[in-house]
């Protein structure tokens, strides 16, 4: 832990942990920065080191009081969860891959690296775009009006469209090209609902009384689902419906159900973005 503290301070010595989100553009950007700072090949990243730093950045963001936007938080969480998974796999004794979960882990790593590599490629291209724009900006086009003598030769101008079509063109050009306001694409599809995962978790725990987090996440289609289930557990824990038990650090996380055997459990929706339904839009008009 001391190591990660030191390295984090090296990044921003003047402000300690006070990292501002504007320093980097999203989790991929941060991860690339961390990786390049260690001059490591992206495919041979010293995962524990980078993971520790990544997590401490997230902590420092929390402490900085800037707060999180949900979309940012989920993006960082997904990357953090993947990194933690990978780090955990590294720490465990390496054995044969005989487990479907291990395979899934390897797949998660490949996907994260592939996405990072892809991002890095576009980052490099972006730099070349800037160079091209700078070069193009040095050359100015010849922009002249037709010589009056030549203009006099021109036949009558043809507007080429009628008044209706002309109005349609005006309308298209004058309409501000603003994308739709209710945007949900920023939660990578498919969307995962914490509320929905919460119900599944409650059901599973009521049945089994006690189970490990690992087994609770068997069958999770994506890392996002794992994150959602974890968030659901945290909320249920807050309400006193379950107990966590972990014998050793990074060991198996056991969850025991202590809540009611049946009946409704208050399920949080604070993690889910409200979906604007068609019949709710009337209210919005008043805004």
């Amino acid at each position: 832990m001391d190591i990660s503290l030191e390295t984090a301070e090296q990044v921003a010595p003047e402000s300690g942990f006070n990292v501002h989100l504007s320093n980097f553009d999203g989790p991929f950007d941060l991860l690339l920065q961390l990786i390049s700072r260690h001059k490591l090949d992206i495919t041979e990243v010293s995962l524990s080191l980078v993971t520790d730093e990544f997590i401490s950045y997230i902590r420092s963001l929390e402490l900085s009081g800037e707060g999180w936007r949900l979309d940012q938080a989920t993006e960082f969480l997904v990357v953090a969860a993947t990194l933690l998974d990978l780090k955990a796999a590294r720490l465990l004794p390496s054995g044969e891959i005989d487990d479907e979960e291990d395979l899934a882990l390897l797949e998660a790593r490949d996907i994260l690296f592939a996405r990072l590599l892809q991002y890095r490629a576009f980052k490099e291209i972006a730099a070349s775009f800037q160079e091209m724009i700078d070069f193009a900006d040095k050359s100015f086009p010849r922009v002249v009006a037709l010589d009056p003598a030549l203009a006099a030769l021109l036949p009558e101008v043809l507007i080429g469209v009628g008044a209706e079509r002309f109005a349609a063109i005006a309308e298209r050009v004058l309409t501000p090209k603003t994308p739709p306001i209710v945007a949900i694409e920023h939660l990578h599809n498919p969307l995962v609902s914490v509320t929905e995962q919460s119900r599944l978790v409650v059901e599973a725990l009521r049945q089994a009384k006690s189970m490990s987090f690992r087994s609770l996440c068997v069958g999770a289609e994506s890392t996002l689902v794992v994150v959602a289930r974890f968030l659901a557990l945290l909320d249920l824990y807050r309400q006193g419906n379950l107990r966590f038990n972990q014998v050793i650090a990074l060991g198996e996380l056991q969850i025991s159900w202590t809540g009611a055997e049946s009946g409704d459990i208050e399920i949080t929706d604070e993690f889910d973005i409200p979906v604007v339904l068609v019949d709710e839009t009337d209210e919005d008009k008043n805004v």
Binding site: L146, I159, G162, A163
Partner: protein, 183 residues
């Protein structure tokens, strides 16, 4: 500044300006004596003898012109059908002016998201658009459509322009949007 540098700089400037430029202006920009500029202009004019263009001083200002020898090709190009039809860019610019007149060139540029200098000149040249005073605050030249524009579109007056959909933001709303773009 060497002779070659003076020559090239003058060529570059005259290539992109529309209005003729005086020797004094060139000398000021290049920070060389007027004599040097005059010499350079003579040297350049000579070097263009076998080219399709030439330099000419008209009303004390210098500008590139097509060479008189090549006027048949130029006239053919101008007369060729392609020139009397408005391009998409010209049409869009004309539409903005028609529905937002009087309007400055900067405003039209902001709405269309591109530099409209060349297109505006074409529209003025074709008699579809004309200057109409200046904007009070900025001093920018305002433009409006001409009666020739109405004639070509087959309209009696501007009131006959088809109305735009009511949901379009008015000028005030547009200002805010444009304002936000400059951040």
């Amino acid at each position: 500044m060497s002779n070659v540098e003076v020559d090239r700089s003058i060529e570059a400037i005259l290539m992109v300006v529309d209005e003729p430029v005086s020797e004094l202006t060139l000398a000021t920009v290049l920070e060389v004596p007027v004599d040097i500029v005059v010499e350079a202009l003579n040297r350049l004019t000579h070097s263009y003898e076998d080219r399709g263009f030439t330099l000419k001083a008209i009303n004390g200002g210098w500008r590139f012109y097509s060479h008189p020898d090549c006027s048949p090709a130029v006239e053919k190009f101008v007369l060729d059908g392609q020139q009397n039809r408005l391009t998409q860019a010209a049409l869009e610019t004309l539409a903005v002016i028609a529905y937002r007149q009087p309007v400055s060139r900067a405003r039209v540029s902001a709405i269309r998201g591109v530099n409209v200098e060349a297109v505006m000149k074409t529209l003025v040249n074709r008699g579809l658009v004309e200057e109409y005073g200046v904007e009070n605050e900025t001093g920018a030249i305002l433009y409006k459509t001409t009666s020739y524009f109405l004639e070509r579109l087959g309209l009696k007056s501007l009131d006959d322009l088809s109305p735009l959909a009511p949901h379009l933001p008015d000028l005030d709303g547009l200002d805010e949007i444009l304002e936000s773009l400059t951040d």
